[in-house]
Symmetry: C2
């Protein structure tokens, strides 16, 4: 993040024909974009690409979701056929959509827009031991880094995280509990819709995952401990999204985080490389309680807050026009001088 | 608002390939759009047109704003030259921008995109007596109705309110206090940036306006009392925006409300014709404390909440892609049946 470009962006904001500070959070977004690009005005964050990382979860066997595991693969087919909400929102904001299979439990037929980067046929059950081996976590991380690098190499100037994986809010809750030190009960939510009994069971499963994997107590510090924790209670899509964030940061391109899956993955990315969070924009805040905890820990303010709890990248996509508007102000808006408007602070 | 189309929209939402309710507030927006159009799926809210109603305020003489009154006319020139933030946001979301002079204190040179509907050269000082005569308020209301009707007649399927008028947050605070019965201190804010001394003076001015105009105590009921209150402490742009809302409702087209100026005008519109509020979408919540009070009174939930305090229609424009996305879901997204995705609730 370039402090010079950020300072220049703040100064430029103050010369534009609007009361100082009157664009609120959007002024911070524009300044952040300038810092990321190392340029003022920052380039518009287009073209934009959504990557939906899909994987399955061994913990599904514990009965933490009312949905059958097959829905992960069925939804991948829905994405590639253009029928999911993420497709509608991507069309709305002009984003491309790439689905990345990093760990779906079945073999998927090839389809346009589907990348096969399968590390395993789903994770092991995180409530009985590590969900992934260290090698698997590293491979998924690397896959995410590579997808980000490839999307930037092909011309994209903004990335959006997406996810698909039945039971993945359980892994997210475990990651958030581990990386923030908060109780499982405070960060576990109802995901795509569990009843009271299943909800309490889900909290128990998250608590057991931390105990079984020796992750109670100390928050992991440093890259090695972070990857170990990610492997122990994360999902393959969480590891890939963490890598995607690191890849965006390495390419100096902003990455809009979607919901609780991305938030938990970003905690892992932050523990691996704290500077990467400077490249993140929090697209939205989901209805999952753990998401607010993750965002607060990361120091990110969400742009959209409409009780979405769908995932797929939908909340991140909704934020893209807002991020673009923030950048566009820096290009299009006249200054007090150029427009001949009186400035109360001049 | 068509209850049949709304029920149909709710049912359709539940068949789409997403957990029921997982689009949160967007599902309510889609249902509302279906009710407004009397059709499911509702048409996409495009093309979209922003109308910026500009006027001056006699109360400016009381020193309630740090900006000179001339800035109203200067900003009108900035809009027609394409240099304001509203222009940048309109370009971002593909909206047309029309400026309507309903009461700027000086004669404005003709310009493309500028409609002259001048009712007066600004209002009288609301802290010394009525800001407008009843005729002036009615004329400004009618101008707003007519602008809405014309924009719909020329093919627009969504309207956005905008405003420009130095000192207009003072009139907004007075209107909100009158129509909600809340104290002036609770609904008066710092507008485009006033210091502590000017802020306390502004509250005094609002209190004086209510007292001088006999509006303390009872909240006006019925159309006649509403127009009288609007004339007493409103601005010409407030009256025009109230008319714009009524015109959108008459044309059965959704209108996205911008910030505190629109919120206070919508309170007047609601008092004149309560059903009109069903056609309103609250674009955003501004940093002005009175805006939250107005939205709560109207029962509207804002879509964007980013501490904007600029006006011009900027917050309304930012919400347009979100409203469109909500409608697009109803057109583009596959059902569980059509996509072959298992439905946990089937």
């Amino acid at each position: 993040i370039d402090p010079g470009a950020m300072a220049q962006a703040r100064e430029h904001q103050d010369r534009l024909t609007k009361p100082r500070g009157s664009l609120g959070v959007l002024e911070d977004v524009a300044v952040r974009l300038a810092g990321i690009a190392g340029a003022c005005p920052p380039p518009l964050p287009t073209p934009v690409a959504l990557a939906v990382f899909a994987a399955d979860h061994g913990v599904h066997a514990q009965g933490v979701s009312p949905w059958p595991q097959e829905v992960t693969a069925q939804m991948v087919a829905n994405f590639t056929a253009g029928g999911a909400v993420a497709n509608a929102f991507a069309a709305q904001v002009g984003a491309s959509l790439t689905v990345v299979d990093v760990g779906v439990a079945s073999d998927l037929p090839p389809a346009p827009g589907l990348l096969s980067r399968k590390v395993a046929y789903g994770t092991a059950d995180l409530s009985e031991g590590p969900a992934m081996t260290g090698e698997q976590a590293a491979e998924a991380l690397a896959a995410g880094v590579r997808v980000a690098a490839d999307l930037v190499a092909s011309g994209n100037r903004c990335l959006v995280t997406g996810d698909m994986g039945i039971a993945n809010t359980t892994a997210s809750a475990a990651l958030i509990s581990v990386f923030t030190g908060r109780d499982a009960a405070a960060v576990t939510g109802r995901g795509t819709g569990v009843d009271d009994a299943m909800y309490h069971h889900k909290i128990d499963v998250v608590q057991r995952a931390l105990r079984v994997n020796g992750l109670e107590g100390a928050v992991p510090e440093g890259p090695e401990a972070a990857v170990r924790a990610l492997a122990a209670v994360g999902g393959l899509e969480h590891a890939a999204i963490a890598g995607f964030v690191l890849g965006a940061a390495a390419a100096r391109v902003p990455v809009i985080l979607d919901g609780v899956i991305a938030g938990s993955a970003a905690l892992a990315a932050a523990a691996i490389a704290p500077d990467a969070i400077g490249y993140c924009v929090a697209g939205h805040r989901s209805a999952e309680p753990g998401h607010a905890v993750a965002l607060a820990h990361l120091g990110l303010r969400p742009l959209v807050d409409l009780e979405l709890r769908l995932g797929e990248g939908t909340g991140g996509l909704l934020a893209h026009p807002i991020v673009t508007a923030a950048a566009r102000v820096m290009h299009d808006v006249a200054t007090f001088d150029s427009a001949g408007v009186a400035d109360k602070d001049a």
